[in-house]
Point group: C2
Chain length 275, copies 2
C-alpha cells in the first residue's frame, strides 16, 4: 500500500487505528479454545468486528511463533483472510527483525514479498545493526520498513536516551535513517508512553508516519499522542492490542472488540477534524 | 546446555566451531533441489559431516522463514535430528529478536522452551529495547541469551560505536547487560571483522562466551580472534556459515564441508593448546 493509498484510507474511515493481533491461546474465549484453528477463528471475528473502524492490523509474530508451526499456519490464514476482504487494510508484521544485509533480504522475502506466503505491507525492524540491516526492507515497491525509534517499554531507557554530541540515540536513529529511505517507505515506532518526546521527533521527521503502540494496557494517552504527533497527512497509526482484542473473554468478545475500536475511531475522527 | 557442559564439549572435541546453517535453496547442490525436504536433507548431510569437528550449530531463522511455513518444518526436522544424535551440540537460534517483556516471553517460549517444537539452547537478541526485552530469554534453566554487541557488518558503524561519557554503545550494552545475567546464561555477538576490539571487550566481559561470526566469507581472521578473544575456559564460539556449507555445490558438498570444518577444528585445537 502506498503512502497516498494509506492517507486516503485514513480519510475514508476517519480512523488511524491499528489493531494489534497479539493472539494468545491462553487468553482467547473458552468456547474457541481447543478448536483446531482457534487463533484464526479468533482473529477473523476480531477483524470482522473492527474493520470499519481500523485501517491497519498488526499481528505480533512472537505470539504465532510461540504456537509452533501451527501458529504460522494461523497467521497465514489470517493474512489470506485480510487479503480476501473487499475492504483494504494496511498490514504490519510486528517482527522486530534486523540482521546483516544478505540475511535481512531473506526476512524481507519472508514477510513482504508479494509472491510469498504472507505479503505484509510493512515490517517492524530494530536499528541496532545499521543501514545494510534496514534497506532490504524498502526494496519492495509499495512496502514499508517501520524502524524502532523510541519504544513504549521500561527498557527503552537503557539505551535509547543515551546522549552523544547533543543527540539522543533515538534521534540519531531518526536522522541517519532519513538517508536510507523517505516518508514513502519508512515509518517509525514511537511508544505512546513517550508522547512528550513527539515534539522533538516531529522536528526530525515531520512528514513520516509514526506507528504508536502503548495506548491502553501500557498506559499511553491517545489525546496526547494526537496533540504532539498528528501532521497534515495524519501521520499516525495508533495501535491498540489488548484493549481491543481482550475487551471481553466471553462469547461477546468480538462485539466488545468492535465497541472498543469504535470508541477509539470516534476520538480519532475528532482529532483529524481539528487538524 | 550449561556452561560447564559446553566447556567440557569444547575440550573433548578440541573445537569451538559453530556451523552456521544459513540454508538457501538457491545455493544447495542441484541434486537436492526440488526434493520435498531439500533443506533438511542438506542440513542433515552437513551435520553428519561436521559433528566431529564442531560443538555448535546455528540455523539462521531468516533463511527458513523465507521458505514459508515449510521452512519452519525443515528447521524442526533439523532440530529433531540434532537432538536425536548421540553426540551433543550447542544449538543457537540466530533470530535477532527482542521486544517488550510480555512479547519477548513468547519468543523465548517459541525457541527455548524444552517442551516446544525447537528447544534451542540459545537465541541471538538485539539489545535496542533494553532489559525487559532481554531477561525473558534467561528464564529457562540451562538456556542462553546471546546479545548483539558489535556485529560483523558495515552497518555496525552506524550506531554501535556512538560514544557517550567515554563509552561506545556496544560497551554500554556489555556493561548494562552484566546486571541482567551472567556468564552462565549470557553470551555476546562480536564480529570477527572487529577482532581489534576484542581486547576492549574482554576488559568488560572477561569470562563470558563470545559468539564470533564473520570468519571466512565476511573476511574475519580466526588467528586474530583467538589472539584477543580466548580466555581460560576458551570463551569463544567461532561461526562459519558459507565457508563450510557452500564449500562445494556438487555432490561432494558434505565431504567438502567436513574438510573445511576439520581445517578450522585443527587450527582451533592448536589455539586452545597454546592458551
Amino acid at each position: 500500500m502506498t503512502r497516498q493509498e494509506l492517507i486516503a484510507l485514513i480519510r475514508q474511515r476517519q480512523s488511524f487505528l491499528c489493531v494489534g493481533l497479539d493472539t494468545d491461546l491462553s487468553k482467547i474465549p473458552q468456547h474457541l479454545q481447543g478448536q483446531p484453528d482457534a487463533a484464526f477463528l479468533f482473529n477473523k471475528a476480531i477483524i470482522d468486528a473492527t474493520i470499519d473502524y481500523a485501517v491497519a492490523y498488526k499481528p505480533n509474530l512472537a505470539f504465532y511463533e510461540s504456537m509452533g508451526i501451527n501458529g504460522l499456519i494461523q497467521l497465514k490464514k489470517t493474512m489470506d483472510y485480510l487479503h480476501s476482504l473487499g475492504k483494504p487494510a494496511f498490514t504490519i508484521a510486528d517482527a522486530k527483525r534486523g540482521d546483516i544485509g544478505n540475511t535481512s533480504k531473506q526476512y524481507a522475502k519472508a514477510f513482504l514479498d508479494p509472491e510469498g506466503e504472507f505479503n505484509f505491507d510493512a515490517m517492524t525492524i530494530a536499528p541496532y545493526m545499521g543501514e545494510d540491516s534496514v534497506t532490504p526492507f524498502t526494496a519492495y515497491e509499495g512496502k514499508w520498513v517501520i524502524l524502532l525509534a523510541l519504544t513504549s517499554n521500561k527498557g527503552a531507557y537503557d539505551f535509547q536516551y543515551i546522549e552523544s554530541s547533543g543527540k539522543r540515540l533515538f534521534e540519531t536513529v531518526l536522522e541517519k535513517s532519513k538517508q536510507w529511505g523517505d516518508e514513502n517507505n519508512t515509518m517509525y515506532v514511537v511508544g505512546a508512553t513517550k508522547a512528550d518526546m513527539l515534539t522533538d521527533i516531529r522536528r526530525i521527521v515531520p512528514n513520516s508516519f509514526l506507528l504508536v503502540p502503548g495506548v491502553g494496557a501500557q498506559g499511553g494517552s491517545l489525546e496526547e499522542v494526537c496533540r504532539y504527533g498528528l501532521n497534515n497527512d495524519c501521520g499516525l497509526l495508533v495501535n491498540s492490542s489488548r484493549g481491543i482484542i481482550y475487551a471481553s473473554n466471553g462469547e461477546d468478545f468480538a462485539v466488545r472488540a468492535g465497541e472498543e475500536a469504535k470508541k477509539l475511531q470516534q476520538q480519532m475522527a475528532k482529532a483529524i477534524a481539528c487538524q
